[in-house]
């Protein structure tokens, strides 16, 4: 392995600030997140590639546009907005976003799934990685936790703090997701933003084949959400979605917001793109190098 290839597998120290940016400026962040995901997974030798890579653009905008307010050096800051990863198996993309925000050392990403790591295979709150608000991994639970947080912020503490939650689309098959959705609108949680990573893939196949969850838009609307469909790989479109959420909250609409982000699983790595087979496996070393080479061409 030549030196350049070897270096591409190493984590760098680049971090990014959390501020309003021009849409094009998110590309470099998303690219770094994607490369870190590949670097993490090839070292771990197990884990989920497809969902994290496919949602990297969502995370780039969520963590680095200023829409979610947090302090990288103090993720226990009481006034922070919170993010709950309900789709816990997508942990690598959250870990990469947090590392690139400077919440913890980037080279610690190398410990993903290793013994005693803070980067557990699925998020474990007991390991105290800064920015991990809750354990998750049993699908359908994180969204209810997020609703509880939004209730505390809005109804009890009467703050303007925001709660973001990302679920997958296969996750919508869990009935308790809809219990949570019902209560978000029942309690008029306009401080709650539900992100749905709509890549149409789950571990057994295409979502409509495994168990159809469509029409998702109609479902979200009928559950009382202001529902926005965006291209999950288009930063301007993602910003439009988040801006609408901010407007809903600022306007006191009393409606929670659902952003349905249409994505491709594995996006950014052509041999993984839109292939459900990449839901739950890591790249081999050769595949990782190929992926990193491809990503390096589009920084």
């Amino acid at each position: 392995m030549d030196i350049a290839t070897k270096q591409s597998l190493d984590f760098n120290t680049t971090t990014f600030t959390n501020e309003r940016r021009e849409p094009a400026a998110f590309a470099a962040i998303a690219n770094e997140i994607r490369r870190d995901i590949v670097r993490m997974l090839v070292r771990a030798g197990s884990g989920h590639s497809g969902g994290p890579l496919g949602s990297a653009d969502i995370f780039a905008v969520l963590y680095f546009s200023g829409v979610m307010r947090y302090k990288p050096d103090n993720m226990q800051w009481p006034d922070r907005d919170r993010f709950v990863l309900s789709a816990g198996h997508m942990a690598p993309v959250m870990y990469a976003a947090l590392a690139n925000a400077g919440c913890y050392p980037k080279d610690e990403q190398a410990t993903l799934r290793k013994y005693n790591t803070r980067l557990q295979g699925h998020p474990g709150r007991d390991m105290h990685l800064p920015g991990v608000e809750t354990s998750s991994g049993s699908l359908g639970q994180g969204i209810s936790i997020a609703v509880g947080m939004a209730m505390a912020d809005k109804l009890l503490d009467r703050t303007d703090k925001r709660v973001f939650c990302l679920t997958g689309d296969g996750e919508l098959q869990e009935g308790s997701v809809w219990e949570a959705a019902m209560s978000a609108s029942h309690f008029k949680l306009d401080n709650f933003c539900w992100l749905i990573d709509n890549n149409d893939c789950q571990i057994d196949g295409r979502v409509p084949d495994v168990m159809n969850v469509y029409p998702i838009v109609d479902k979200c609307q009928s559950f009382g959400f202001d529902t926005i469909v965006v291209d999950g790989h288009d930063y301007a479109d993602l910003l439009r979605g988040f801006d609408q959420f901010l407007a809903n909250q600022a306007g006191g609409t009393g409606k929670p917001t659902a952003i349905i982000a249409r994505t491709y699983m594995g996006h950014g790595v052509s041999f993984m793109n839109d292939k459900f087979e990449w839901h739950g496996k890591p790249p081999t070393q050769e595949q990782a190098i190929a992926a990193l080479e491809e990503l390096a061409q589009h920084p």
């Binding site: 049993s138 939004a150 009935g175 209560s183």
Partner: protein, 334 residues
Amino acid sequence: MTPQLLGQKPTRHGFGEGLVTLGERHSNVVVLGGDITGSVLTSMFKDKFPDRFFSIGIAEQNATTIATGLALSGKIPFFASYGAFCALRNADQLRISVAYNEANVKIGGGHAGISVGPDGATHQVLEEIAFLRTLPHMTLIVPADFEEARKATIAMGEMVGPAYIRFGRSPVPMFNTADSPFELGKAIQLTDGSDVALIACGSMVWECIRAAEELAKKGIKARVINVHTIKPFDVATVTAAARECGAIVTAEEHQVHAGLGGAVAEVTAKNAPVPIEFVGVKDSFGGSGEPEELMEYFGLTWKEVYASALVAMDRRDKGSSGTRAVRDVPQYTA
């Protein structure tokens, strides 16, 4: 020093009153309703603190995880329903979101045991002690009477960490007063004696007190121990009872498997193996009927405790902890 009968009242009323006290003391105590608020007495809190009460409807999984979100936001959320629904239907939520997170969530599980009565087997939860006591970080309390339920509710609200309290629907004998001791995790020895230990929780504590009275008439001094906290388990008190009495009867309104009896067996097998007889529901579901007739039918009375004490002592005295003849086990038939 035998405890005296002071009247009859359901333990759920103690839960309801304890919640109101907690609400008065702590502004961050909030309560989630699961549609049966009048039955599990969260209605008392709702009436007094409407701004801190949230109706979640018939959605126990959601209520459990919403409670987690509230707890992770610095609140002390209580959610109460029937144990069948708030300990077992939401088992995964309790495991991952509550226990693994060490979230400060408090669950009140009503309609415990067959003394629920006419509602029948679906609503008579008999398995949740087994599940809950295997969850890391969980505190599990099974109060014996109204006053103990009231104190336990306050105590669980004022400790940090996930906790579950099990209470019943029907009136049960009261023998604790406001002055009776109560400390989480500390079993209470109610009578002196070293001939046999009667170790119980919940409604069966009183049955053990009655059994001890009857045994006393035969000159047998029974040590009655109220294990109101199943987890963390009072290893010292139970181990001492095993060593000093040499024979144990456990009694609970729960399956005989993996509940209080299981906990006692685990502890004594390691520290002081002695013959144990298990009084409880013997691997069957409940059914409709009046509480008293069901308790009689399923062998959950002082008489079963009494008979089991004699068997346990007999096994001890014969120097064998071997098996006894399997007696006819009552099975419920409609």
